[in-house]
Subunit: 252 residues, 2 copies
């Protein structure tokens, strides 16, 4: 188990609108959840401004140390959409028009006044790229090597991820289960630590909450081995009960 | 205007629960909004796992190139709370017990069974740190130099930020205003670019949306000079109207 290959991905969120607080990001949680089903772990995320140097630094650092790199945002037709140029610069290739993307955009805009120079900007890709179908709007996503360039609008990104489902090599998905308890986590810190250490490949996260004047916590048990999760959940439930607390399956 | 000092901050979100997709982060948007009121810009965010090496790398890179560095998460009493140790390691100091934090925690837990070794873990700080009052629960936040170590639970972080309001040196807040329009952004890309270029210190973001089968966009005008924002909003409104579109103040 312990020498099992772990596949990782990183995400670069590109967008002044996230850093200004105007827009609440949804793509981190969405991508994390989708990746886990593919057997890939989201290892780190960077949120950077619409600036070429910031994008290049993040892309080159993260693509080198992960199996896959995803980006969201900045692939539209306006002046603040610089993702394609920045990634081409990061990987050292030219930006070229993708013939299939031009055809897709030509169809999409046929009844909307046709393809013009501005709309054709969305057919520009780093040289050597392939396309990721966009089922929601016109502009396709882009794959270049291990880099996946996705939309910023979450439901468009969702459609692109749906197209990629099952196409990326991964390992075993992480399995998780949750126990809740109306107890301050400080009271059970030792038993959590002991339970985690008792099994290989197990991690336990403790997430406090404060609700209606009550203090509680959720304990999330994670492993890539279902049997380890099941056994750890049983251990933890027993330990909490023996310490005088009432574990609540599924969390609170 | 153009040589005005711009104050920046970065954020390191520490937490496997964000990277697993289990928890939707709220602290990025919350901190960004608060920082702007202080006249400080959030320049970049990294979301890293509960791993010392990942925290150290992010903290040391980002604190060197920003006026302020904030972290959220990992300051509780359980085994997965490693933020204080990681940051002490990053800045090269020991971890020590903070007497005032011990007193605060002693008061907080007086009616809850008293302070024990596990709870006292939350009084550990990097040597030389001061405290940030936590008005919601027991464990205080921590300031060490330009590093602000905050809770992960958003409403606890909110209370800590409230305590810091007005205490950090910043510049002029960024002012923004929004115009919406039921138009594909590709149709107005040129006039957006021209409007942005026509004034110094102005940025215009274009954010497409797809609602009930209609295509639209919001255009967000930003500057640290209110007069520039006002003038740019008037320019943009006129340009959209002359191009046959209907600008909607406040956005759609």
């Amino acid at each position: 188990m312990s020498d099992e290959r772990i596949w990782t991905a990183a995400l670069v969120v590109i967008g002044d609108e996230i850093l200004s607080g105007r827009t609440q990001d949804r793509n981190v949680a969405q991508l994390a959840t989708w990746l886990n089903v593919q057997g890939i772990r989201l290892s780190e995320v960077r949120i950077v401004a619409d600036r070429t140097d910031a994008i290049v630094e993040a892309v080159n650092t993260l693509r080198a140390r992960n199996d896959y790199l995803f980006t969201t945002g900045g692939i539209g037709p306006t002046h603040d959409d610089i993702t394609v140029d920045a990634i081409a610069s990061a990987v050292g290739v030219d930006v070229v028009d993708h013939p299939e993307a031009l055809a897709v955009l030509g169809d999409y805009y046929a009844a909307k006044g046709g393809l013009n120079a501005v709309r054709a900007r969305m057919a520009r890709v780093p040289d050597g790229a392939s396309l990721i179908e966009n089922r929601v709007s016109g502009a396709p996503g882009i794959r270049w090597g291990n880099i996946f360039i996705m939309a910023g609008v979450p439901h468009i990104t969702a459609g692109m991820l749906d197209r990629l489902t099952g196409t990326l090599e991964g390992g075993r998905p992480v399995v998780s289960a949750t126990l809740g308890c109306w107890v301050a986590e400080s009271e059970v810190a030792d038993l959590l630590r002991q339970t985690e250490r008792s099994r290989t490949g197990l991690s336990i996260g403790s997430y406090p909450l404060f609700r209606e004047g009550r203090v509680g916590a959720n304990f999330v048990v994670r492993s890539s081995d279902q049997a380890v999760v099941d056994a750890a959940m049983a251990d933890l439930s027993t330990a909490l009960t023996m310490a005088g607390h009432q574990p609540i399956a599924g969390g609170i």
